[in-house]
């Protein structure tokens, strides 16, 4: 059999050739700054877990030690959040008004916000919630948007996220997700966008159920432990209907 059908495999390419989007270009430059900065600063790096495509295929998580350069490591330890902070986690978040966020937490988030370091002006806070000792919030200043999580002990992390994109009223999308830390210091998070008719979102991962905070078209949630994101997300809309999808089906 001499025929070569391998060129047809292009139709299965999960990352076909295309130009970077504006947001991807921004992340490209941010990552470059991080690489150049990290290369010069010797500091302790956290252990981080990475679930690979192959691990997903066989339903098993794989562990790896990879130095993170896409987010800001603030303190040492097993991960960006302390095990004490993570152990205080609650499945239901306490929604915080932007004006009632813990000032220490907000100072941390503003100090470590991603984006233009020379930007000035106030931050806008959204998606602010409290799970145990951990405050999570999204800061926006100009075009720079930062997801921030920080414990009452001052350990935390920030990462750049995208502006809310166009989305159908009953749909949700996933903007970013990941797992940080190791052992008792491990946690997983998801951040994405929700349509106008989305009332609530819950993530079911293993034995845990975490209710996301939906605020202004963006949803945020985190829970203890690493994840291969093969759990499910249940979306409930304002008409009372619910449907569930696998978390990893939201990756695109």
């Amino acid at each position: 059999m001499n025929r070569d059908i391998s060129p047809l495999l292009g139709v299965l390419d999960p990352a076909p050739p295309r130009a970077l989007t504006v947001d991807e270009q921004a992340r490209q430059e941010q990552l470059l700054s991080s690489v150049l900065a990290d290369a010069r600063v010797v500091r302790r790096r956290p252990v981080r877990r990475i679930a690979l495509a192959g691990a997903l295929a066989v339903g098993a998580a794989a562990a790896v030690v990879v130095a993170p350069v896409a987010y800001h490591m603030i303190k040492g330890g097993g991960g960006p959040l302390s095990s004490t902070a993570i152990s205080s986690w609650t499945g239901n978040p306490v929604r915080l008004a932007a004006s009632s966020t813990d000032s220490t937490a907000q100072q941390f988030c503003e100090k470590n916000a991603t984006g233009n370091p020379n930007a000035t002006g106030p931050f806008t806070v959204s998606n602010a919630d409290l799970r145990g000792e951990v405050t999570s919030m999204v800061l926006t200043r100009g075009k720079d948007i930062t997801l921030c999580m920080v414990g009452t002990d001052g350990e935390g992390f920030t990462m750049a996220v995208d502006p809310i994109g166009k989305i159908a009223p009953k749909d949700i999308t996933l903007d970013t997700a990941g797992s940080h830390g190791d052992g008792d210091s491990a946690f997983s998070y998801v951040e994405g966008f929700a349509g106008a008719d989305v009332k609530s979102i819950s993530v079911h991962d293993g034995s845990r159920t975490a209710d996301a905070l939906v605020d202004g078209g963006r949803w945020t949630v985190w829970w203890p432990g690493t994840s291969d994101f093969t759990g499910t997300v249940t979306v409930t809309t304002t008409d009372g209907n619910s449907h569930s999808v696998r978390i990893d089906s939201l990756f695109h």
Binding site: R27, Q28, L31, V35, A53, V64, V69, H252
Partner: protein
């Protein structure tokens, strides 16, 4: 290609970032792709004075090694598993195959070993020459060429006669370097 300055490294980074990102996205969990890419370029920075003139295969190999190391703690692997586009896309590839033929091709792909998938992906998706692909995999050019030929035969055999190549419809950006 010894890179001495931030500017030289930045130019190399910007020239290859998109390719490395795509390479990693084809293999790593989507939520972790940025971190693998970041670690790859961090390694490149540390080795900037030793980079080859064409750093692309070196960058791919470094990213691949990072992903291989990730799975070795769980089970020994010699190849990195690849993701596939689960649904048809609205692009130049779309008219090339009927939905049924696409499913046949997908089934044939999934029936291949991870090693065969990786060899074919470097050829078709990354568009590497045999020499470049051999650098990524750490084998000889001859060994890669032989393995590629066998992988192509196994793919065709598994796909059966229903999946045919219509050369008139193959888009210009289908990579077939060898």
């Amino acid at each position: 290609m010894a890179l001495e300055t931030d500017a030289e490294f930045s130019a190399m980074y910007r020239a290859h970032y998109a390719d490395v990102l795509a390479f990693v996205r084809r293999r790593a969990h989507p939520g972790q792709a940025d971190d693998v890419v970041g670690e790859t370029f961090l390694t490149a920075w540390r080795r900037r004075r030793d980079l080859p003139d064409d750093p692309r295969p070196w960058l791919f190999r470094t990213a691949r090694n990072l992903m291989l190391n990730a799975s070795r703690s769980a089970h020994r692997q010699r190849a990195v598993a690849l993701r596939v586009a689960e649904q048809g896309r609205d692009d130049a590839y779309q008219p090339m195959l009927s939905a049924e033929a696409r499913l046949d091709l997908l089934a044939a792909w999934r029936g291949l070993s991870t090693s065969d998938q990786e060899i074919l992906a470097l050829h078709v998706w990354e568009g590497l020459t045999d020499k470049e692909a051999a650098t990524v995999l750490g084998c000889s050019r001859a060994a890669y060429s032989m393995r590629l030929s066998r992988a192509k035969r196994r793919l065709a055999k598994r796909a059966g006669p229903g999946v045919e190549l219509s050369t008139a419809l193959v888009p210009a950006n289908v990579n077939g370097a060898s």
